[in-house]
Amino acid sequence: MKPSVLLLPILIPAIFGALMFILPRKARHTVAFLVAGINLALAIALFRNNLIYSFPWFAGKIEFALRLYQFSGFIMLSAAFFAFLIVIYSLNFMKGKNLQNQFYAYILLCIAMANGAVLADNLLLLLFFWEGLLLILFGFIAIGRPGAFKTATKAFIIVGISDLCMMIGIALTWMQAGTLTISKINLALTPMAGFAFIMLMIGAISKAGSMPFHSWIPDAADDAPLPFMAFLPASLEKLLGIYFLTRISLDMFKLAIGSWISILLMAIGAITIILAVMMALVQKDYKRLLSYHAISQVGYMILGIGTCVPVGIVGGLFHMINNALYKSGLFLTGGAVEKQTGTTDLHSLGGLRFKMPITCACFLITAASISGMPPFNGFFSKELIYDAALSRGMIFYLAAVVGSFFTAASFLKLGHAAFFGKERNELKAVKEAPLSLLVPMIVIALTCVIFGIFNYLPLNHFIQPVLGARLEGHSYAGFHVNIVLTLITILVLAGAFIHHIFMAKLKGEGLKAADDIRYAPVLSQTYDLAQKRFFDPYEIGLKGMNVFSRILWAADKGIDWVYNSFVPGVSYGVSKGIRRMHTGYYPVYISWALVGMFAVLYFLRK
């Protein structure tokens, strides 16, 4: 295989994505489907190859370097897999929606950018594709429902700022390593390099949607088209963000187990797990609830990678692919519900299990996976992360387990409210979703089962080769996990189930099963504030900017006053004074001239 073949996965989707803007209405679906299929075929063909392709760029100053190896091939394959499924899903879902040409164009451009970012072996090249994704993100959200541009702006600013940090990180890394080629960088963790790492990490975890760069995701869940949620925040961005986080943690910087950065990463992970899942628990909207889980699950990955022990990293990466599967699957079920019932508000849903049995089954499988129920895939990856977290500190383990409890609780609530419970009269006419919506869901649900029961498939073929020699021949495939931890997990899940049953009985409604937590003494007020976006860093930033702009406004007024009032006022005042001095009385003029003469003579006296 020629190395230049690496340009294809970037160029093909990019060209067709650009063409999508002008293609006739009828051809769009076909072309999008075909290009996504070609991309998947390419990714399959390229997987397991090792290729390096580069040529000088920017007047020879920067290498346009692409590198395909195990890890990038894996991410590219996963991205292509999800893109293909999402396109199939969209063929039906987007029918009759506005701005379809933009939607498909963004999907294809997104594939191109993601492939570019994954293949890039040069930090600046990576940044180029990374920023391309940022632009597409904006466009994607903006074509949602009317008013979505506000959310698009929010996402653009949040991700843009973190990308700016990443840019600084790249500059610092360049300065210290003397090269921009990713595969040649291997920095010891000096304070300066630590700073560079943090900056790069901000870019990575913000792409993945970790706290505190998360707040646009729930808003986007409300505003953006649903396939976008299933594609970008649920799968593609997790893949890219965690991919880059792993690259910088494993390859570019020598991250030791005891280092402060490791602690920092684990702390970010643990906090993200807990806070986001707490928010998810109290959501009353299908998509919004899922969006908080999309944030929460990132915490597990960051926690896993942050432990710096092989089992944690394997767990983190395994969780990354698992999360991409079940989270996009969950969003797709949400989309099916939205498509068939016209709403995602849990208050007006209920009893859909008979109306939409396949959707319900897919939901149950994916929900079980995300809750970490054995033998689904989420269970295995979470167990690996528990194992690693416990070895680094009880507190991290506790955070992960508590997160698991709330995850289970919130999905019990979601499932109960949407698919079980009483059947509503206004939902009598609801039918099962059409085939093109079902196929992607079924494929994903099946993959969740396969990745769980036959977990050696992903572990041996995709993930463990990434770490290579670090594993020292160890394999985590199969059911090898700690029995005690497994028992604890099962106990926790059972606890969540019992809690749900009990509370649902008490309140008489599945949707209110988490109300004891929602209205607990201290939490209640905190939740109120959080629902009002009091803790949203973006809102805080906006308030700060508001103060700042007021100060600037005042300064501007001051400057305006100087130019518009003060200077003209003084000039006119002086001018009038001078005018008054010119009385037209000639002796005055003569005396001026004489005084002037004496002044001149006095001046020339030396």
Binding site: S571, S575, R579, Y586, W592, A593, L601
Partner: protein, 467 residues
């Protein structure tokens, strides 16, 4: 044949007045027009037959020593242009036959005086010709015999008399000191005399006399009254060229080739220049009379020239001479604008005007060119000369003055824009519906001057390297 610049106007006065007045007014118009345009041609093309032939017969009778350099040439060119414009304006503005004849005679006298002033090479002749020019100016200002004209002429007369006294005293002191009056001898004598009180007083007095003639602050008292009271063709001539020749040119000539630019003289000139710039500009801000505002603007622009002279580097002098030329053009242009408005409206009060561009398009548009050039907006000619002066000031290390000159341009723009808005732009003021564009003579002069401003600005490198 250079003395012909003086002799032909002189004999023209005698011969033209032999004709009856009705014939003379037309004859003299044609003749003066020819004379002034011929002067422009002779300077611009510089035919060898004129400049290099000696007048043997004349030299037997008188010895008229003259010297010609670039500054002289520029001044002769300006004199030719402005006299021509003033002549056109007089045709349009003066209807009385006697007055026309009088004005043309005065114009010829003024031409003699100015041409001679820029050609002569000794201080006493200089004084004589300055006086000839001045006397013709007094009469021109007072020609209408109205109250304001007489008052303006009187103030000019009085202050000029003081200037005369100062200059005469200075000349006599110089004569005492050096025993001669020619530029070379006085210059050499002064250089040999050291820096005695005697020398300093004579230089100081001479400079003060010239400050009065140029109208620099605080010696400017006569200028606004004289400019605004004079009949339009006279004010064009006065503002455009008379004060430039009898004040600024002489100052430049003496400072460079006789007194020498000593540091104290330089400091004095730059200071006086800067004061004139700011006082003139600020005072112009609140004027309500069109011509009066232009008069204050003149003070301000002369300040720029003196600032350039005071700086004294080669570049600064080039800038000063260039600005002198530009000022002659654009200030004449603006005074012609004022004249044409005055002719149609019968007033120069800006508060009674408004929206005149609709009725007088040529006047309105050419005045924009004139004011933008004055304020130093590229690519018009005024920009380049101001720019050169500022660059020269900066290069010579006078950063404060350079910044000051730059900032003062803003005020220039401020008062001119408010003038333009009041007079020409906006809605036509009620009662002015029947106004028409003024007569052909004024339109032509406006167009010619505006084109000169524009073209000189566009081809300024050629103009700068002209010699």
């Amino acid at each position: 044949m250079v003395p012909l610049f003086v002799l032909i106007p002189f004999f023209s006065i005698i011969i033209l007045n032999l004709f009856p007045k009705k014939l003379m007014q037309h004859l003299s118009f044609v003749w003066l027009g020819f004379l002034s345009l011929a002067q422009v041609y002779l300077v611009a093309a510089r035919p060898v037959w004129f400049w290099d032939t000696k007048l043997e017969l004349w030299n037997l009778l008188f010895s008229f020593r003259y010297s010609v350099d670039v500054i002289t040439l520029v001044m002769l060119l300006c004199i030719g242009i402005v006299v021509f414009i003033s002549l056109l304006a007089s045709r349009a503005m003066i209807s009385d036959v006697h007055q026309r004849v009088n004005f043309k005679n005065l114009l010829l006298v003024s031409l003699i005086g100015m041409n001679a002033t820029v050609l002569v090479t000794d201080v006493f002749s200089l004084y004589v010709f300055i006086e000839i020019t001045a006397v013709s100016s007094y009469i021109m200002i007072a020609m209408n015999k109205d109250r304001l004209g007489l008052e303006g002429a009187f103030k000019y007369l009085i202050l000029s008399a003081i200037a005369t006294v100062m200059m005469l005293v200075a000349i006599s002191l110089l004569l005492l000191l050096t025993g001669n009056t020619s530029f070379e001898a006085v210059g050499a004598g002064l250089a040999g005399a050291g820096n005695s009180l005697f020398v300093r007083v004579s230089i100081g007095l001479f400079l003060c006399g010239l400050f009065i003639k140029s109208g620099l602050v605080p010696f400017h008292g006569w200028l606004p009254d004289a400019y605004s009271a004079a009949p339009a063709p006279a004010s064009i001539l006065l503002a455009g060229i008379v004060t430039k020749v009898s004040g600024v040119y002489v100052l430049m000539r003496l400072a460079i080739s006789v007194f020498g630019l000593t540091p104290s003289v330089q400091a004095l000139l730059m200071f006086i220049g800067a004061v004139s710039i700011i006082i003139g500009a600020v005072a112009a801000l609140t004027q309500t009379d069109f011509k009066r505002m232009l008069a204050y603007s003149s003070i301000s622009q002369i300040g720029y020239i003196i600032l350039g002279v005071g700086c004294g580097t080669k570049l600064a002098l080039i800038g000063a001479v260039f600005h002198l030329f530009n000022h002659a053009i654009f200030k004449s242009l603006l005074f012609v604008n004022a004249a044409s408005v005055e002719k149609e409206l019968g007033t120069t009060d800006m508060d009674k005007m408004g929206g005149l561009t609709q009725r007088m398009p040529v006047t309105g548009i050419t005045s924009v060119i004139g004011l933008l050039s004055t304020a130093g907006i590229p690519p018009l000619s005024g920009f380049w000369s101001k720019f050169i002066i500022i660059i020269a000031l900066w290069q010579a290390g006078n950063f404060g003055y350079a910044a000051f000159a730059l900032l003062a341009s803003i005020i220039t723009l401020a008062y001119f824009l408010s003038m333009q808005r009041k007079v020409f732009f906006g809605k036509l003021r009620s009662g002015l519906e029947n106004i028409k564009e003024s007569s052909m003579g004024l339109i032509v002069s406006q167009a010619v001057l505006a084109i000169i401003t524009l073209v000189v600005g566009l081809i300024f490198p050629l103009v700068i390297s002209w010699r």
